[in-house]
């Protein structure tokens, strides 16, 4: 269980800050809604370790994440765009999710299996800049499979996708979350994404999270 307990932060020069409290459970998608500039990305940056909180607690199954550097946190992130390095192939991008010394045969087998799981078995040699927006997000999701971290943070991951790709990618996220028992936190300003995916949702109001009706 991922718990934020009065996790506070104030951007330099800002008059008022944020105080986040929420609980996210394994195998479920927890959605955070709010207009642009409301603090959705700040919340994700605090969980991922890119921002250091001024106070409060952030725990995963009772263990504090605050002392951990971003790369040490049990977290994978999917951004709206630029989750892949465009100059590398899909396979090379995914290999970045494996430890540096992984033997070549094991690496190839795991990459192939992960790509198959996200429905893209044939793109391993394709450069990322030749993939469509939906394919890029699927490859990035496949990399999170290789990293095998219990928390998945999604920062507006469907915003740049067309409707059809958006529905299929959304379904894939729901399926992977359930199958791998991930704690998925989705940040979005699209109400239909939240309605379709979230087991529970929060909206940000005045720098605080307000719980919304459970599905």
């Amino acid at each position: 269980m991922l718990v934020l307990d009065r996790l506070t932060y104030m951007h330099p020069g800002q008059a008022s800050g944020y105080e986040f409290s929420m609980t996210a459970r394994p195998g479920e998608i927890t959605a955070i809604r709010g207009p642009s500039g409301s603090g959705k990305s700040t919340l994700l940056d605090l969980v991922a370790g890119f921002l250091a909180p001024a106070g409060g607690a952030l725990t995963l199954d009772g263990r504090s994440l605050i002392p951990l550097a971003p790369e040490e946190r049990p977290v994978s992130i999917l951004f709206q765009a630029e989750s892949l390095f465009e100059h590398l192939s899909a396979g090379d991008n995914m290999a970045l999710g494996l430890p540096a010394g992984t033997p070549a045969t094991e690496r190839a087998a795991r990459i192939a299996a992960a790509l198959t799981e996200v429905g893209l078995p044939d793109v391993v040699r394709q450069r990322a800049d030749t993939l469509s927006g939906g394919q890029k997000q699927r490859v990035a999701l496949a990399r999170t499979l290789l990293r095998n971290r219990p928390v998945l943070l999604l920062d507006e991951p469907f915003s740049s996708l067309d409707d059809e790709t958006r529905y299929t990618t959304r379904a894939l996220v729901a399926e992977l979350t359930a199958r791998h028992n991930w704690i998925t936190v989705l940040v979005s300003h699209h109400t239909d994404d939240v309605a379709a995916l979230a087991a529970q949702s929060y909206r940000i109001e005045g720098g605080k999270l307000v719980s919304e009706a459970k599905r």
Binding site: P70, E82, D92
Partner: protein, 537 residues
Amino acid sequence: MPRSPRSSNPVLPDRPLRLFGGAAVAAGIALLVVLVLWAMAAAAAGTAASGRTVDVAHLLRMTSIQAGLTTVLSLGVGTALAWALNRLRFAGRDLVVGLFASAIVTPGIVVAFGLLAVWGRSGWVNDAARTLFGAPLDISIFGLGGILAAHVILDGAFAARIILSRMDGVTPARLKTGQSLGLSAWQRFAIIDWPAIRGTLPGLGAIIFLLAFTSFPIVLLLGGGPANQTLEVAIFAAAKLDFDLNAAVLLALTQIGVCAAVVFAASAFSPVPSSVGASRAHRWSDRPAASALQWLVLVAATLGFAMPLLAVLVHGIGSIADVATRPTFWRGVATSLIIATLSAALTLGLALVLTLARASSANPAVRTALGIPAYTYLAVPAVVLALGFFLLVRNFGITPDTAAPAVVVLANSLLALPFAVATIGPPLDAIAQSRGKLIRSLGLGGWRQFALVEWPLIAPEAGLAVALAFCFSLGDLGVIALFGTQDFATLPLLMQRALGAYRSNDAAGIAAVMLILTVAAFVSLPRLFARLAHARA
């Protein structure tokens, strides 16, 4: 004990090794500056005055007038040329833009020689005048006019390329708005272009002023006597010809003082982007009268820049066969290529260590400390740096002849370092800012970050930095002029000696070879690096 994300900027991965490497290089470079200044100060203190009076005020005035006029004229010509290139579309436009981009690396001695071939007493213009009018034109290429012409050809083209990149950076939406409002050519320039370019002009002007203030081969060749002598040439004359170290050191310290003040002032201005790639912009042609003026500007500027270079090739190619029979020529070619290659490799290594360290830190004080030593050499002109090294190795009991190859490589490398850092630094910073979160969340190690992410993305810029360093070294006369010997001479030194001995055919042949090598290196090295990185990626 796990690291706390509070310990540093959490968006950037912790790279202590990079910071240590950068700090070591920055400290080493700073130490060299101190040693060079110390060697000069010690020489000045320990040498009896020669009795010869040095008119520092006159030299300072002449150098400043020359550099000031060069700056104003180059910015004017550069803006007009960029305006024409931004508006006009024609077959071979990329080639013309590339020609002007190459101005930054074209050796000054080659341009000066080309100007002589076009405008000199026996040049193309006077030959044509004799044929047409029976008498040559009353124009002298020697003196202030000649120096300004050579500088404006080089620096005006350089300015045009930088200003063009700013004009090309205007967003299509802004251009479409202007086009839909039916702006006139003048309104378009004043309302759309000027706001885009004006921030660049002070920094660009400072760089041009420094280049002109420290210009050596052009003033040496076209100065036409003591009246137009500049500090740089006076230092060379005092150290190499008159053996008056006291005067040389006094002039050198004056020169460093002025250059340092300009560098300090320029650091407050907007950075100047390095632009040598293809130029693309939204298509919007001005009205016929403005277009006619743009064509006029373009043709005049292209002729002004290309004619001297063409003259070098026309005069020189026929002489290459003759000069190629001399063993000294081949020794010069080999020495130039070896020195330029080593210097370029050293420049790239130093620039990478410094810029990787800078990109891994968000602390402004750390970033400044890592950057200042590299940029210090903008304030130390080539002849002054060479003089400092000359005195330094002498103080350490090493004969200048023994130290010459290493010193020339090191000095050429340090002189190219500010340009290399300015070329490689911004893309590395951009990668750190835009991809720092992803790199850190994936937990990539420093080597994987460099080999898989950074190097493939910055390879074209690294290639450009290598090309700049290679070409600067290939065309350098300031350092080799003090350290060169009968057995250790590069092509520019051989060319200068040939001119001094009135062997103008030999000089033409050498100039042509230098021009061909420079253009070949400038065009091919960035492409080679980009291709190598692409193959790796």
